[in-house]
Amino acid sequence: MAKILMKGNEAIGEGAVRAGCRYFFGYPITPQSELPHYLAKRMPQVGGVYLQAESEVATINMVYGAAGAGARVMTSSSGPGISLMQEGISYVVGAELPCVIVNMMRGGPGLGNIAPAQSDYFQATRGGGHGDYRMIVLAPASVQEIIDLMQDAFDLADRYRNPVMLAGDGVLGQMMEPVELGEEKEVRIPPRPWAATGRTGGEKHLINSLYIVPEDLEKHNIRLAAKFAAMEKEEQRWEDYLAADAELVLVAFGTAARVCKAVVDRCRREGKAVGLIRPLTLWPFPVKAFQPLLATAAHFLTVEMSMGQMVEDVRLATRECRPVYFYGRCGGMLPVAGDVYAAVQKILAGGEAK
């Protein structure tokens, strides 16, 4: 199978189609617009539905409806649009509906700008909507990995009847890399015996997040919490890049991790024991990756395209047994390898305060 050259945004679209997604509801926003653009062309080729709604509030509620009817469905946006969707996301969790939500992050807060950022980490991992909830957040770092992860994103959503977020940034969405698509497979979507599929004479299915009796809502929350606990136990994913014997372990995801990998390579060429942990799931955070490193690493350096959000999870994961430093650029600026390298040098020389 020949390779083709794809943008990250297009790869999300193609990956979704190949995962059996036939419904996409969206609204344009830079830097993810190539995704709706791609699916507007691609969905009709496979008999799917592409619909541009009047707003992100509408799209997430269309997702709720489609998922409730048993469809494999996706929406996507960037920061401001994802903020608008929060009420709907909370409803989707409450009604236990599987779906995939894509956030190609841009500079915030507010209108911010259209340049790449990772500053929606808190929103994605802590739940930007109301109520007790969690969702799996996947953070790919290359166009090929996007293709490979899309099937998982939909499968995880089904397994837990919960939304899954794919979190990227403007660079990942816009950059082009060669990808191997592989054969198109017939996708078997798991049965959804709970879906509301019309008056067919069978049992009544209600898609709802309203539990008016407090005793019932508490029971519902306890049941949801058990699902979230299972996700935490089963779904932590990460890439360990030369971290096992590293004195200094970098921690970064997505585009920032690509920069950090270049820094690790340079350090290793120079004989410095530097490695990288790249979380593939931002939630559940890969705490397991850090347990063996507490015996081997002397310091951690978190690199983010924000003022420092994931760094809090790194401190929790290392139980503050080792110093955790932070380097970040924000507002649409990118950390460059040379600056990260300089930060590494400083720490190795015993310089930087926590």
């Binding site: 390779k3 083709i4 794809m6 297009e10 653009h37 660079v171 816009q174 690509r258 340079r266 390898a337």
Partner: protein, 229 residues
């Protein structure tokens, strides 16, 4: 001249992500090397990432004039077209190289200049990367080319063979794509006016294609953030 019947205005259009910007910049440099006064016009109102304005300073150091929104407006997600574009269209001594936004939506911005572009005054070249999802065969290429002609209300005068897989491009990739472009050219009765390859591959490609099709060696300007030190 390295291309046949060069005209004063060369407009590059393409399906999204086909490599127009790198091509336009390299083409303009080539004209500049021949001593011609050249302006590069960034008409890309579609994609705010990886467009000509990002390398403006570098190009201006090389003596090229770059026409694009200035200052804080360069990063705005606004379809703003600076008035200096008309200067390039009207100045009969100046060579203009136009980098138009991708797809029919990008070409719509070009249509606004139709009154300034009488037939024969310009070349409108359709850039093809046969490794891109929607232009992998001649049917796809023809569909996209027609939609761009319709949106811009201008007529494509030639095809550019620009197949690549980014850093993973090898000669077979380029030659395989070139065959697809040639088939489209035959069906459209259009010439293949130019082929391209990274500088390291350009010599070998020229040998394989023969003297009929000029090969433009590309120096890549748009780099991912992790490539630099």
């Amino acid at each position: 001249m390295f291309v046949k019947n060069l005209r004063r205005l060369t407009i590059f259009t393409a399906s999204l992500g086909s490599g127009k910007t790198e091509l336009a910049v390299n083409f303009a440099r080539r004209l500049k090397e021949r001593g011609l006064p050249v302006s590069v016009v960034d008409l890309d109102v579609v994609n705010p990432y990886f467009r000509t304005r990002l390398v403006r300073e570098e190009l201006e150091r090389e003596g090229l004039t770059v026409i694009c929104p200035r200052g804080e407006w360069a990063g705005a997600d606004l379809p703003a077209l600076p008035p200096a574009i008309c200067g390039v269209l009207e100045d009969g001594r100046r060579y203009g190289v136009f980098d138009v936004g991708g797809d029919d939506v990008g070409a719509t911005a070009l249509g606004r200049f139709k009154p300034n572009l009488p037939d024969g005054s310009y070349h409108l070249w359709f850039v093809i990367n046969a490794c891109r999802p929607f232009t992998r065969d001649s049917d796809g290429i023809i569909n996209h080319l027609r939609s761009i002609e319709k949106a811009s209300r201008l007529t494509v005068t030639g095809l550019v063979s620009n197949t690549n897989l980014g850093r993973q491009t090898d000669l077979d990739t380029v030659l395989g794509g070139h065959r697809v472009v040639e088939e489209a050219a035959r069906r459209l009765s259009l010439p293949v006016v130019l082929a391209t390859a990274r500088r390291a591959l350009a010599g070998e490609l020229q040998e394989r294609l023969g003297a009929d099709i000029p090969v433009l060696p590309l120096d890549l300007y748009m780099q991912p953030p992790w490539s630099g030190e």
